[in-house]
Amino acid sequence: MMPDQKPEQFSKAKNSPSSPRIGLFVTCLVDLFRPNVGFAAIKLLEDAGCEVFIPKSQTCCGQPALNSGDVENTKTIARQVIEHFESYDYVIVPSGSCGGTIRTHYPEILADDPEWTERAAVFSSKVFELISFLTDIRGISTVQARCEATATYHDSCSGLRELGIKQQPRRLLFSVEGLTLREMDKAENCCGFGGTFSIKYPDISNAIVSEKTEAIKESGADLLLGGDLGCLMNIAGKQSRQGQKVRAMHVAEILANMSDGLAIGEED
C-alpha cells in the first residue's frame, strides 16, 4: 500500500482479534450517488462482527473500461484495486456487478500476466458481494430492522448469474419488521441498464426498462429493492419519468434499518 494512501479505519468497536478485517469497496456509484448504502454496509458488517476499513485510494472497479473492450486500462485498474485491498481478510462490495467484475473478471483479464495470475486468483477468492457475504460467510439469518412497506426485489443480472445471489437478500428481508415481499413477474429479467449500453442504445434500453417498471407496477409494491445501484438508478429514473410513485432503495439500506431517509431520486 502506498504510504500516502493509509486506509481509514471506520470501525470503532469490535476490535477483537477474531474479527475479520474487511476492506469495503464502496463502488463509484454509491460514493457519488448514494452514500447511505456505504454507511448501511458498514453497519451491517459491524453488526456481523467485522472490522471495517475504507481504503481512501479506491475509485471504480473498471467496468466502463472492461465492457468497452479497453483491456489495458482495465488491467491497470484491476492491479491497483488488488494492491490496495489484498491485505484484508475479505473485500466486500455492495454491488453484484462490481463484485462480479472484481471476483470473476479480474482473474480472467490478468490470466495472461504471469506475475499477476496467482495473485489475482488468491485475491478474487476473498471478494464477496455484501449481502451474500453476510448470509453465506457470516451465517447471518436475521437483522434488526423495521420498514413499513410492500417491497418487490429486482434480481440484478451479475449478482444473480455471476455470483448466485437469489435467496440471500430475500431471506434477510423476511426478518425486517413491517415489510411484505411481493415478487414481480420476471424478477430475473434484465432491467436494460448494462452500464454503457443504456447510453449507447437508449431506445432499446428504454424499451427494456419500460417492461421492468410495468412489472413492478403490476406487483402492487410501493418499494423497489435491489442490490445494484446502477440498475436501481435506471429503474427509478424511468419510474420517476413515468410519474410512478414506487420508491427505490438499495437492499442494504433496509436491512441496516436506514430506510427512513430519502429514496433514490428524491431531493437531498
Binding site: P35, S68, I77, C157, R161, F197, S198, Y201, I208, G237
Partner: protein
C-alpha cells in the same frame, strides 16, 4: 459513428417503435420460453446432460481433422460425393455447379441456416435456377422477399394477417380464410407440385455422423423428406462443426436441441441420409453430395472463439434475450440474429462492419444460462469488444471518453477531486433530486430521469464522521 453502426441503430430504433413486430416476437418467443422451461424441468438432469453435450462437442472440435477424415471416408464408402469449401462463395459455387451438371431448372430447399450463410438462394437465382423454399416459414419469407428473422422460426416477425394477404396475392389458388389450417393448406397446394417436379433437393444437416458417413436432418413439417427424396440429386450443405463421432452422440445433442428450441421431446421428423439410392431401394436420389463448409470456422479455432463451434442452432439464446425480444432478428443485419448472431456475424461479415453487435448487449448472461451446450456468449462478446478496441474500430468519441475516464480512475486523488467538482456541476441541473435534462446526458435523459448525485460523496462524509469520532 460508422455508417453500419448507424444502420444497426436505425433498424433497432424502427423495430422498437413497431408495435405489431413486438407483438409477433413476444407471442412466439414467450411461448418458446415457457415450453422450454417445462421441458427442461422434466429432464432428470439437465446440467449433467448439458455438460455431456459440451464434452462431445469439445472433443470433436479438438479432433476435428480426425473426425472430418473419418466422416469423409465413410460417406464416400456409402456412395456419397464429398466436397470441401473454404469460403461461402466456394460453397455456393460448388452447389450451383452440381445443379448445372444435373441441368436443373428447379431446386427445392429445406430450411438450412448454412444455406443462408453461404448465400445459396441468391447464387441459385443468379444462375437462373428456380429455388423453392419448402419450409412453411421459409416459404413465407421467400414470398415476402425477406430474410429469416429467427433461426428456428424464420417468419416469426410476421402476423397471421400479413401472411394471409401475402398468400392471397402470391398463391395461384389463394387461401379461403385467415385460419391457420387454411393458410397451411394453401401453402401445401402451392408447394406439393414443386416438390414433385424439382430436379435437385438441397438440405442442411443437424449432425454429420462420422462413423457411418450419415447425415441427420430434423424438421417438424416433413418438408425435408419431400425435398430430398423425389429429386434425382440431393445436396447437403453443412458446417464442419456439425460432426459427431456416432449416432449415440447425435442423440444426446438432439434431446437437448429439440427441448431448447421448441420445448418438445422430439421433432416430428428425424431422418438419417446415408448415401444415394441403392439398387433395391424404392426411392431416393441417384446422386448424393455433401458440401463441407469451413467459412471462418477454423479461423474461430485460431482466434480463441472455439467455444462458439459448439452451437447447435437451437435459438434458445435469442428467445431469452431482452435485446432480441425488443428488436427482432432483422435488426442484427446478418444471417444469424440474437446473442449467437452477435458472435457469428462479426466472424462471417467482418468485425469492422458489425462492431456494434457485440456492444448491443447488456451482458446479463441469460443466454449463457439457457444455452444447451454452455457457450459463454457474454464472454465471447466481451472478447469481440476488446478485439474491436485493439483493432481501432471503436468510434473515436467512445475511445476518448473511456480513456479520459480511465486516467482519473487510475489516480485516486485526482479522481476524487474531479468527481467532487463534477457532482457539483451536475447538481446544478437537478430539481427535486432529479435531472430531467443535462448537456451530454441526452441519451440517458431522453427516456428517464437521472437521480442527482449526493451533495457530499461517501468518501467526504465518511472522512468527516471519522474525524468527529475523534479516532
Amino acid at each position: 459513428m460508422t455508417a453500419i453502426e448507424s444502420t444497426f441503430k436505425k433498424r433497432a430504433q424502427a423495430a422498437v417503435a413497431n408495435k405489431t413486430l413486438k407483438a409477433a416476437i413476444e407471442r412466439t418467443a414467450s411461448t418458446a420460453e415457457k415450453k422450454r422451461a417445462i421441458a427442461i424441468a422434466e429432464l432428470p438432469d439437465f446440467s449433467n446432460m448439458r455438460s455431456c453435450a459440451k464434452r462431445i462437442k469439445d472433443h470433436v472440435i479438438a479432433n476435428l481433422d480426425h473426425y472430418l477424415e473419418t466422416f469423409e471416408r465413410n460417406a464416400v464408402a456409402s456412395g456419397a460425393k464429398v466436397h470441401w469449401a473454404r469460403t461461402a462463395e466456394e460453397a455456393s459455387h460448388i452447389a450451383v455447379d452440381i445443379c448445372k451438371m444435373a441441368k436443373a431448372k428447379r431446386v427445392t430447399r429445406s430450411k438450412s441456416m448454412l444455406g443462408e450463410e453461404i448465400g445459396l438462394p441468391h447464387a441459385l437465382e443468379l444462375a437462373g435456377i428456380e429455388c423453392v423454399e419448402t419450409d412453411l416459414a421459409e416459404h413465407i419469407v421467400q414470398l415476402a422477399g425477406e430474410r429469416p428473422s429467427h433461426i428456428v422460426w424464420p417468419a416469426m416477425h410476421k402476423s397471421r394477417e400479413e401472411i394471409f394477404s401475402l398468400f392471397k396475392s402470391k398463391h395461384e389458388k389463394p387461401p379461403v380464410s385467415e385460419e391457420i389450417a387454411d393458410l397451411v393448406l394453401s401453402a401445401r397446394r402451392d408447394l406439393r407440385q414443386k416438390f414433385l417436379t424439382a430436379d435437385v433437393g438441397i438440405s442442411g444437416a443437424n449432425f454429420l455422423i462420422a462413423d457411418t458417413g450419415a447425415v441427420c436432418v430434423v424438421t417438424n413439417e416433413g418438408n425435408a423428406e419431400l425435398t430430398t427424396t423425389p429429386p434425382k440429386v440431393h445436396i447437403v450443405t453443412a458446417g464442419i462443426e456439425k460432426l459427431v463421432p456416432s449416432i449415440e452422440h447425435a442423440f444426446v445433442l438432439l434431446r437437448l436441441l429439440v427441448r431448447s428450441a421448441t420445448g418438445a421431446d422430439i421433432t416430428q421428423y428425424t431422418t438419417f441420409h446415408c448415401g444415394p439410392k441403392r439398387p433395391n431401394d424404392a426411392d431416393g436420389p441417384e446422386e448424393f453430395h455433401i458440401i463441407l463448409v469451413d467459412n471462418g470456422r477454423t479461423q474461430m479455432l485460431a482466434d480463441g472463439m472455439e467455444e462458439m463451434l459448439r452451437c447447435i442452432r437451437c435459438g434458445a439464446c435469442m428467445n431469452h434475450c431482452v435485446v432480441y425480444r425488443q428488436v427482432g432478428g432483422h435488426a442484427y443485419g446478418g444471417t444469424y440474429p440474437g446473442p449467437m448472431g452477435a458472435v457469428l456475424t462479426p466472424v462471417f461479415d467482418g468485425l469492422k462492419q458489425s462492431r456494434d453487435l457485440p456492444h448491443a448487449c447488456t451482458l446479463n448472461g441469460r443466454c449463457a444460462e439457457v444455452c444447451p451446450v454452455g457457450i459463454p456468449l457474454p464472454t465471447l462478446l466481451r472478447q469481440l469488444r476488446s478485439r474491436s478496441w485493439r483493432s481501432g474500430y471503436e468510434p473515436w468519441l467512445t475511445k476518448a471518453n473511456v480513456s479520459v475516464w480511465a486516467q482519473f480512475a487510475k489516480r485516486p486523488k485526482l479522481y476524487h477531486a474531479v468527481s467532487k467538482i463534477a457532482s457539483k456541476v451536475i447538481r446544478l441541473f437537478q430539481k427535486n433530486g432529479r435531472i430531467r435534462w443535462m448537456p451530454l446526458a441526452g441519451n440517458w435523459t431522453r427516456h428517464r430521469d437521472l437521480p442527482a448525485p449526493a451533495s457530499r460523496s461517501f468518501m467526504q462524509l465518511q472522512r468527516s464522521r471519522h474525524k468527529e469520532n475523534g479516532s
